[in-house]
């Protein structure tokens, strides 16, 4: 029998239903793989006992013929999601050993549907980063290496642990959060599928807040279909998040394999940035050719405010973060460093608890929101955001069904390569993904091939609001043409 960890989520689901193996066997196979891959640092907490209890319950359900949609499927959860009774830290020292007494809505829906928790995955501290190097638990090493090199590479970020765990077959799928590209960029670096749904598609309740008008949860998986299956369980109305949509959640799986004939695909000329590697451009052209072959009509479009998305993001996101992170006060939960008075307690606790990148963003956010600067920075950025959104609305009004772009401006880089003096160098990683968050649209990253050094490259499809189905249909075309990519298991003992 093939190794259980090498099955796709769909294959594992079918195998469990056909009683070819048990949910406990499936969980155990993954727990063993996790143990052998600890050097990757993809998980910050393994939950083997919980996994076995949940899997045993699933086996009971299978025996009774009472299986739920995700029954027995073993997944990883990004450490940004509050999990009841299971330590949740956002990979920050300031949360200490915070153990929630409640469950996030998204994860509660995954458990409602029978999924099994394997552990909490690593991420950049408070999801602020594009390489997973800002985690208080240390960086994640990508399962991918350049051909002929042992240099450790980043898995991307902020959801680097989830992306690495899925690519290294340490779970069947995983959750992520995406504020500026934190699902799509690591998915592209890891050669897997990641989707950030429309703002409001998944509830944000119980997810550690970074930038509330940009944050969205979404799944990682090794196939488009697997991602579609997971998203269906994660999405849906939640009265506890007033920005969460009450639109019905479709059966995304049905969108896989649907014809895309006659669909209009926009190619934004502003995404042809200076200095774009030839290989990225080649993949993009390849993607165009694949979709054309499938019957889609390709049109050039203009999104004139694209180049302002990243600067506007670096005002809006830190501003919202500085406000959201004001809650870490050393009083109600997490780390506390004593002080002579309240102010000193706050200042010492927050100095010791926040890492450098988080501190930098809180300071920028505090500055742009401070008296005298609010209009010049924050208000201006929110107006630019309206313009970015209306660029997309114009394209959609002209009949465009989806937009095709590269997912990232390069393949994965080495650990330490971009953590130098200039923080902006790291921020440029999100140049193709951040517009989508600014406009609240859905975006999917699908593997499109390997570059000359043997590293994965991804293509991004951007859709109309709440039209994730079209992204799954188009994404599965790219997947069929490009195939699947697996790293060599160099880490296994």
């Amino acid at each position: 029998m093939t190794e259980l960890t090498s099955l796709t989520l769909t294959e594992a689901r079918d195998g469990l239903r056909a009683k070819k193996f048990s949910a406990v066997e499936l969980a155990d196979a993954h727990l063993r793989a996790m143990e052998n891959a600890r050097s990757l640092n993809a998980y910050v907490l393994e939950t083997p006992q919980k996994a076995r209890v949940m899997a045993a319950e699933s086996d009971k359900r299978f025996a009774k013929g009472d299986a739920r949609p995700l029954e027995g499927l073993a997944i990883g959860i990004k450490d940004m999601f509050a999990t009841e009774g299971v330590r949740t830290t956002a990979c920050s020292k300031i949360l200490g050993n915070f153990t929630p007494t409640y469950e996030s809505t998204v994860t509660s829906q995954l458990w409602r549907d029978g999924a099994v928790l394997l552990g909490k995955t690593n991420n950049d501290e408070f999801a602020m980063g594009s390489s997973n190097e800002t985690s208080a638990y240390g960086p994640v090493t990508s399962p991918w290496r350049r051909k002929g090199s042992n240099a450790p590479l980043v898995p991307g970020g902020s959801s680097g642990g989830s992306a690495a765990a899925v690519a290294a077959q340490l779970c069947l799928g995983a959750t992520g959060t995406d504020t500026g590209g934190s699902i799509r960029q690591p998915a592209a670096f890891a050669g897997i599928v990641g989707i950030k749904p429309t703002y409001g598609r998944c509830s944000r309740w119980g997810i550690v807040a970074f930038a509330s008008s940009l944050d969205q949860a979404g799944p990682f998986a090794r196939t488009v279909k697997d991602a579609a299956i997971l998203l269906r369980s994660m999405a849906g109305h939640d009265p506890k998040d007033s920005t969460c949509s009450d639109k019905e959640v479709p059966d995304y799986e049905k969108a896989i394999g649907k014809s895309v004939k006659g669909m209009k695909i926009g190619i934004p000329k502003e995404y042809r940035v200076d200095g774009m590697p030839v290989e990225i451009e080649k993949r993009w052209e390849q993607g165009v050719a694949w979709l054309r072959k499938a019957g889609a009509e390709i049109v050039e479009i203009s999104l004139p405010h694209t180049k302002y998305a990243l600067p506007a993001y670096y005002i809006v996101a830190p501003a919202e973060a500085s406000s959201n992170l004001a809650r870490y006060d050393g009083v109600r939960y997490g780390l506390r460093i004593p002080g002579r008075d309240m102010i000193e307690l706050y200042e010492k606790t927050r100095a010791a608890g926040f890492g450098k990148e988080v501190r930098r963003r809180i300071l920028i956010g505090t500055y742009v929101l401070s008296a005298g600067y609010y209009d010049a920075y924050y208000l201006r950025a929110q107006k630019v955001r309206t313009l970015i959104k209306s660029d997309f609305e114009d394209a959609f009004r002209n009949g465009v069904n989806a937009v095709l772009t590269p997912a990232t401006p390069s393949s994965a880089f080495a650990i330490g390569e971009k953590s130098g003096a200039d923080p902006v160098e790291m921020y440029l990683n999100d140049v193709f993904t951040v517009t989508v968050n600014m406009a609240g649209l859905p975006g999917i990253s699908v593997p499109a091939g390997l570059d000359a050094s043997g590293l994965p490259l991804g293509l991004q499809l951007i859709g109309r609001p709440f039209d994730e189905e079209t992204l799954f249909s188009l994404g599965s075309i790219i997947e069929q043409e490009a195939g699947h990519f697996e790293p060599n298991k160099w880490w296994a003992a």
Binding site: T101, P311, R350, Y377, R380, K383, R385, T386, K389
Partner: protein, 95 residues
């Protein structure tokens, strides 16, 4: 626009984050690098543009005005670094 050392100290205090004197110069240059990067936005014509306030257009839902949660001090205090008799403990704030 750029910040000077005094401004870095002021915003660090506003953000309630203690910053060592030795870190000020470094922080100043990092913050100024980011401010230089976002400077590009001043080129955009924003006359008559409404700021984004709702990402997806939707009506803010209203619910019945009644208590739906609470009454569980043990859960609220479960992760507190210091508690006493069902309360959070903080340094003396009133002389």
């Amino acid at each position: 626009m750029s910040v000077d050392a005094a401004t870095v100290r002021r915003i660090a205090h506003l953000a309630r984050i203690a910053v060592e004197d030795a870190e000020i110069e470094h922080l100043k240059s990092e913050i100024n690098a980011i401010l230089a990067f976002v400077e590009e936005l001043s080129q955009v014509n924003i006359d008559g543009v409404e700021p984004m306030t709702s990402v997806m257009p939707m009506k803010l839902p209203m619910r019945e005005d009644k208590v739906t949660d609470g009454g569980n001090p043990a859960r609220v205090l479960a992760n507190a670094p210091q508690t006493e008799d069902g309360f959070f403990v903080v340094p003396k704030v009133v002389e």
